[in-house]
Amino acid sequence: MENQLDMKKFLTMLAAAVMLLAMPAADAGAAKKVKKQEVVFVTTMDCAKCAEKVRENLSFEKGVLGLDVKLEDKTVKVVYNPDKTNPETLAKAIKKLGYDAVEKKAEPEKK
């Protein structure tokens, strides 16, 4: 009986924890449409673990909305909110992880 009571108490706490954790997600869903810009960095990352390191850290940089880490061509494409961050800040964040990051300029359109 005591075990059952413990279990009920734990389940209640668990439900509360899930709801608490879910609040920011619900919030994000209701948010207004944010501005989006895109930047591509050519980096010096050269291993799968380097790519993992970049992905795991850059995903949580302020203003980052989307990320595409390509090891094949050593590029990191970042979709970001220009009101919250900028390419310089993002490049600094990559350099802090130990890799050079140079912004790749869009190639001029061929006429």
């Binding site: 050269d46 390191k53 850290n57 909305l65």
Partner: protein, 675 residues
Amino acid sequence: MKKIALFGALFVPSVLFAQMPDTTGIYGERKDTLQATVKVATQAGNYLPRGKDIKTEVISAAGLCKMACCNLAESFENSASVTVGYADAVTGARQIKLLGQSGIYTQMLDENRPVMRGLSAPFGLSYIPGQWLESIQISKGVASVINGVESMTGQINMEHRKPTDEKPLYVQGSIMADGKADLNVISALQLDEMQKWSTVILAHIDGNAHEMDMNGDKFRDDPTGLQMSLSNRWLYYDPSGLQVRFGVRAIQDRREGGQLSSIENPWTSKILNRSLDGYVKVGLPLDDDSASSIAMVADWNWQGMNSNFGLTTYDADQQSAFLNLLYQRELNESHKFTLGLSDMFDLYNEDLLRAFGSYSSSPLAAKTVLNTAGVFGEYTFHSGTKFSAIVGLRGDWYKDAGFKVSPRLTLKWAPSDDFVFRANGGRGIRYSTPLIDNFGVLSTSKIFKGSFAEHALEDAITMGANVTWYLPFGGSNNYISADYFRTDFLSQTICDYDAEPNTIFFYDGQSVTNNFFLDLSLEPFERFVVTLTGRYTQAEQTSKKSPDVFVMKEKPMVSRFKGVLNLQYSTNLNKWIFDFTASANGPCKVWDFMEDRYPGGYTETYPLLYAQVTRRFKGFDVYVGGENLTNYKQPDPIIGAENPFNEGFDASQVWGPLMGVRVYAGIRVTIWKTN
């Protein structure tokens, strides 16, 4: 690049793990991993990598986080290939089944060193914390001969977190509602600028102080106890190509199962396990273009066990040593061969006292030396990416059993990028260790008869084939795959509960298992992955009907089928991960003596549900989840629970969950190396 690939192959048999993460990826300038598939968009848990010579199911780090994953056994819960169960209802010893046979016939490898052999096997799965691992690779059937031929139904390789991981600190802790808690602390350090020297320290502690009895049989569902393990692994890499890996590990586990302590004169099982092991691996290229290389792998292990099961006591220790010397030469892109010598040495000391009711006997007090010395060769032919053939041959001298030859063949044919046909087959041989292989027999009040103290050679032929079609739409991990495997044991130590009343008879017999598998993986929309896997098993083994009459009949306690559905959804940037696993576990034929408890002679089919929610933040994750959410428990898992000291007591007939709903919560903290 050639040097890197060749070295990787020396340390990692190319048959199995040619693209293994970071075992090869640390070498040279680490550019080899540019070829690796980097799953940056999703957190792929289980997947089938393309291009491997043998079909290999990979459980990634993300997959290892799907369950509470306190240890290796639990990480197989969402795999249909591997079935996880308990050896008995009191000790907490976990066991797996692959291809309808006990896990003792699956070779366990720690970065391609054979581990969990003999006395280390019954509890070994509990001594590998899931959080110590980076990935697990499962392959069915028989593959390379390089690590011996003890793999008879498959191989499971564990990749630990690496010294080169740029994570100076990783901490994971979790607690379950039943009071079980675990903590892992891992630190990977690169000691110089050139990363010549690097090391990883892995520490683990788990404990369970709370007695739980969810089914009301007055027995603890899970033993209480405390386990600690500590490991330190080193890597030295010289730009000239020389590399040395070495490490040590120590484990102590004290556990107590059996009747609740509130009972007067309780039947208990107290087990103290201690283990110490060390290994060294050296690889050296012999020429500038590294077309040829040599490598050495050496391993030493000591395992001690002091245990009692009611009045029965079993004290044992084992010392094992393994040496593998390899020479590899790559003639060109199509032709490669490996030659080698190996030795596997085991020294067992066993002391058994059986006592229950009015019965008392000391049927085993022996020192046993087992030794296998072998010579082997493996030739690999590649015709681009379309076709490969690997022919392996070993000649081993087995102490007291003579010289045996074991051939193996692996074929792969990929007529297109999306379609792969594979087949493998060959012979497997191992020494049996009857009591250790059937550890649950100690949790019974039955008399042992027959060859339980002998170490006969078990001999099997396994053959199988697989077709995988990578679906030409959606993500790269969409596939349908079907397998068939058959294992014929020409000689197997059978542990028979039905030969005589209240007796467990050990004798040499045969068995046949046929296994069918179907796997489907789909990503119907971005970041939502559906995996459906199924297994069907037909298994027969020798049954002793009278002193001279043996017949083949359905192998008891092997579930006929298992189906697993896994759904995983992650939000953008994987900030939220939702995981749900449902499985249906098919019936097992029970032993004849149990049929009064199981009308029809079969156990029932039961469902299992698991769910987990993870919220990820910068540097840390928190997760909550639940196991066995249907709360299904095996009814009355202990036969004779009311009179455990007397004849008739049997806690070894476990086919379902012993515990009901268990919820848990945990946290993972990662500190990354920065400039």
